[in-house]
Point group: C2
Chain length 405, copies 2
């Protein structure tokens, strides 16, 4: 006898998407030290933290410097000051019935979206949009929930794919096979598409009818600019019995390097007598030790009057980039979508080029890095993602370079 | 069809130990608002962060306030400045051959000790000390690796228990059944016992012989005061082919509410051709998004000259408490161990009282909270843990109250 590794990990093809694009960008930059690569690839923010957040961080650091105000282990599920601010601002203010104790504070939506599958049975079947944020699928692969990989189709035998292409208006359709767990992300990463409240209500009704859970990733909620686009799934009737919502501070407040997010699990969401809320609480209590106090205080500042005003400007800054990319590419003859309620622009690669082929082409000829659509799933082939998270100056330069290409 | 929960979660008996003791303490305090409860229970620090760390935090916050120095997503495995500081100070300075790229920075040893089991096959058999930090066992239960629970013996059918009692000198003995994964923690939580370098070398030799992995939790390394007690398992020959080491900043630098730790996986540790290092890297890349930049800068300050000097004093402060508890209880007629190379004092409950019975007795009669030994495993029954992490004043008062009891 001898220890053995988790064979499910070995089923994962290649490496994590952004590790691969990151490596390719680094290699290009090393080989061409004289050229400036502009990254509109990973969804990483570039603007500094807002002054209200900086003040909160300094204040919290000072609290940690004195025995009277020092904070040790945080409460398992997050500090009440933050959970209350979230419940009041993100839910009650929108008329949604979510209590503070249904909110679990974490170190970010990536971790939550990766870990949430753990509380479900291994034989549950997942449905995902295609293209999709790779973490949803990869973590189910690592848990042994996805069956056999088809190398040619780049699909898993036990995953239900819901194509989101130009033909479907970049929206998923109710699948013919019934899933147990449905991952939805709106505003969408990677396509930048969104969903109307009526359309989301159909998903909620469907999930309640078939007994499925919707894992609703609303990380890009702050970028919604149009009416009748829901900011949370709990705007839909019946969502309390079928939906988990994931939220992030990364994109609305620039916390990609600060790390804070939360997950909402209503207590009405049950398998028989068992509340998913209890299982997630148990997971938090056993496998997690809370987000840093300093960081939770920064999260609280996001909801202060000053914080809200400053972050509205920050989001507007990025959305100005989004418009610039959208308009620039359109005027250059590209077929583009997204960018209106989301910081992502989704474009069709020109002349039938493959996604990765276009990635290399753009890097070599314009020194602009994006993300190949195929990296998000088979239906992403022939598409390409650009993000609005660069500086305005870099964004303008990148688009000029693409136009000249 | 309908979604189903992970049935393995439902096998967990009761709630997480520290949730239970926390609830009991809160309930007592609420019922007796006039009485001051002194908590020597959870291993949570009370001293403020050292000045060098506070300075580093403020400095990093300022960097986040300007676009030129703002930091977004951290490198998957941690910033190089921190990984280099760890490699140099914790390993190279002790003559241990560990490279910076074998170090994975995380948000704490609890998460790492909980998640590490994921990279192993489900049918691997674990061996744990008894008593033991509950996270090791509970996370294996949640992964379905532990078989059937025996309610009377409070043991799992597929777990190998290594009793650490007065009879064994609070040390584990090589088990008769061969494990695949061996969890060891020295200086030990909860008993405060430690291991000599020679004894640890025997475990390393054994693991290499039978093809087992040792998961070595060295979270309390900073409290070692005696010679011939290894600070890291990599002081032992052959550890690179059999040992993973978990480390924390919680206890040496007071980071329980700051959240920072790391895991070492040498590249020589393999199952056939598969490096455990690669699997853990994949897990980090897919399920985690790095510790906050601000916090990693605080971690770096732990290794500065000023930081080292200040933290040496902080550890000495807690160890003075440990001595006070140890000596006080001994003079009061208790049978005690630990407290010399560890911040934990392990005592035999008097008059054959059960651990939980003594917990209630101490809370009611001395308003002192500790942790019942039985909460750490069946061989912990009849024992009780007190921690040295209180303030000196509270520690003195707690011991006076126990003496008067």
């Amino acid at each position: 006898m001898s220890f053995k590794v988790n064979q499910d990990y070995l089923k994962l093809p290649g490496s994590y998407l952004f590790s691969t694009t990151g490596r390719k960008i680094r290699e290009y930059a090393q080989a061409h030290p004289d050229q400036k690569v502009i990254k509109l690839s990973i969804g990483d923010v570039t603007q500094p933290l807002a002054p209200a957040i900086i003040d909160a961080l300094h204040g919290a650091v000072d609290e940690m410097a004195a025995a009277e105000t020092f904070k040790g282990y945080a409460p398992d599920l997050g500090y009440e000051f933050l959970r209350n601010a979230i419940a009041d601002n993100d839910y009650k203010a929108r008329g949604c019935d979510i209590a503070a104790d249904e909110i679990f504070v974490s170190d970010g939506a990536k971790c939550d979206s990766a870990n949430i599958q753990e509380i479900f049975s291994k034989d549950n079947k997942i449905a995902v949009c295609d293209p999709v944020y790779p973490v949803y699928v990869d973590t189910n692969v690592m848990a042994g929930r996805t069956g056999v990989y088809d190398k040619i189709g780049e699909t898993w035998s036990d995953v239900i794919y819901m194509p989101c292409t130009k033909e479907t208006g970049f929206a998923p359709e109710i699948p013919t096979q019934t899933p147990d767990i449905i991952y939805l992300c709106f505003p969408n990463n990677p396509t930048g598409a969104t969903i109307t409240k009526d359309a989301l209500q159909e998903w909620v009704d469907y999930a309640n009818k078939v007994g499925a859970v919707i894992i609703y990733d609303a990380a890009y909620e702050a970028y919604i600019s149009e009416d009748n686009v829901p900011h949370t799934i709990y705007e839909c009737e019946g969502a309390r019995t079928c939906a988990i919502e994931l939220r992030s501070f990364s994109k609305n407040a620039g916390f990609t390097g600060v790390r804070l997010g939360f997950t909402v699990i209503p207590k009405d969401l049950k398998d028989g007598d068992v509340m998913l809320h209890s299982l997630w609480a148990r997971r938090h209590g056993t496998k997690y030790n809370g987000a840093p106090y300093i960081i939770q205080k920064a999260g609280e500042a996001v909801y202060s009057e000053a914080g809200k005003a400053q972050l509205k400007e920050q989001v507007a800054y990025y959305m100005k980039n989004a418009s610039y990319i959208y308009d620039g590419l359109k005027s250059a003859g590209y077929s583009v979508s997204g960018g209106v309620n989301a910081p992502y622009i989704w474009l069709e690669t020109p002349k039938g080029m493959g996604s990765w082929e276009f990635f290399d082409y753009l890097l070599e000829n314009a020194q602009v890095a994006g993300t190949p659509g195929a990296g998000f799933g088979p239906s992403g082939e022939g598409y390409f993602r650009l993000t609005a998270f660069g500086s305005y100056e870099n964004t303008v330069e990148a688009i000029e370079r693409i136009k000249r290409m």
